[in-house]
């Protein structure tokens, strides 16, 4: 059954990517696999060695982004870049806390769902922690789609003398 889920996930993921859906490969694969799981009516767990390999591979794809050349080019921007990232991470924590207080979303889900980034990383972390990974992925998909849709608005509200 896992093989059937992987095959369907591959087809739907590839199609979503071709249609330029944000995060299309992961989101499409999730939808395809969910379809198989719902039709079969049972859980289809991945073997633990596969899970471990996939989680490490998600980390690997992020780690390989760090090169000495990039760090060198980043040096003059390091202060603002780190400050910006830290601000967004803390804001995400705050938003997650507010969601926990005002909705039925548990803190364990909200903390990962409102993190400012990395759809595949947060999906893998949610799976690793055994949290409600589908809801966490849903939040991140909404985030990516909304940011894309908001780009024209974001450009409009640039500082006046920076236009």
């Amino acid at each position: 059954m896992l093989i059937a889920a992987v095959l369907v996930a591959t087809v739907v993921g590839w199609t979503a990517q071709r249609l330029r859906v944000p995060g299309g490969m992961l989101v499409g694969a999730m939808i395809g696999a969910a379809g198989v799981a719902l039709v079969s009516g049972r859980e289809i767990p991945a073997p633990p060695p596969v899970s471990i390999g996939v989680f490490a591979a998600v980390g690997l794809t992020t780690g390989l982004l760090v090169t000495r050349d990039r760090l060198r080019r980043l040096a003059p921007l390091a202060g603002p870049a780190i400050a910006s990232a830290m601000f967004l991470i803390l804001l995400g924590v705050l938003v997650g806390y507010v969601l926990t207080m005002t909705t039925d979303i548990p803190w364990s889900v909200a903390a990962l769902a409102t993190s400012p980034g990395a759809l595949s990383v947060m999906s893998a972390v949610a799976l690793e922690q055994g949290d409600d990974s589908a809801l966490i992925v849903f939040f991140h998909v909404v985030r990516v789609i909304l940011v894309v849709l908001l780009v024209p608005v974001i450009l409009l509200v640039r500082p006046r003398d920076a236009r």
Binding site: M25, L64, L135, V142
Partner: protein
């Protein structure tokens, strides 16, 4: 040589990076570090990339396979109850995103005011959609490299903050 030819990749470096990622991931997992597998993979892969002093590119096929497997592992946990529940979370998810985007915009304006940052700063402080924002920066010829570097830092710090974040849970 075509970009996706198997010969255009350094398989020895890829193997080394994958082995290091797996080793550190398993070590952190055994040490019960929250999110240890993902964080360990990042640290192991990043260490090899820095030590080799050159970019180690994974084939698109491999990157797609990783994305597909994450999608499969999430998707196969979906139940009918979850599907019925998701629509009511659109509002909270949208509010959370607008708060993050708004925060990013305010932070960009503050940086501009205090450090006279260039126009691309508004795209650099967005919470996500790296590819779309870099595409816009390229189209407008405004700091595409700088925007991508800001987002790289965001992604790395998000990964590194995971253990701390999970300690709060």
């Amino acid at each position: 040589m075509p970009a996706e030819s198997p010969r255009s990749y350094d398989w020895a470096d890829i193997g080394l990076a994958a082995a290091a990622a797996l080793a550190v991931a398993i070590a952190l997992y055994l040490l019960a570090v929250p999110g240890g597998l993902v964080v360990g993979g990042t640290l192991g892969g990043g260490a090899v990339a820095l030590l080799r002093n050159r970019e180690i590119r994974l084939p698109q096929l491999v990157r797609n396979a990783i994305q597909i497997m994450v999608g499969v592992m999430v998707g196969t946990r979906v139940t009918p109850d979850m599907v019925a529940d998701l629509p009511r979370y659109i509002g909270p998810a949208a509010v959370a995103t607008v708060a993050l985007v708004g925060g990013g915009v305010l932070f960009a304006r503050a940086l501009h005011r205090h450090a006279t940052m260039p126009p691309w700063i508004i795209m650099a402080t967005c919470p996500g959609a790296l590819e779309a924002l870099v595409a816009v920066a390229v189209e407008r010829r405004e700091g595409a490299v700088e925007v991508s570097l800001f987002h790289l830092i965001r992604i790395i710090l998000v990964v590194l903050s995971v253990p701390l974040l999970l300690l709060l849970v």
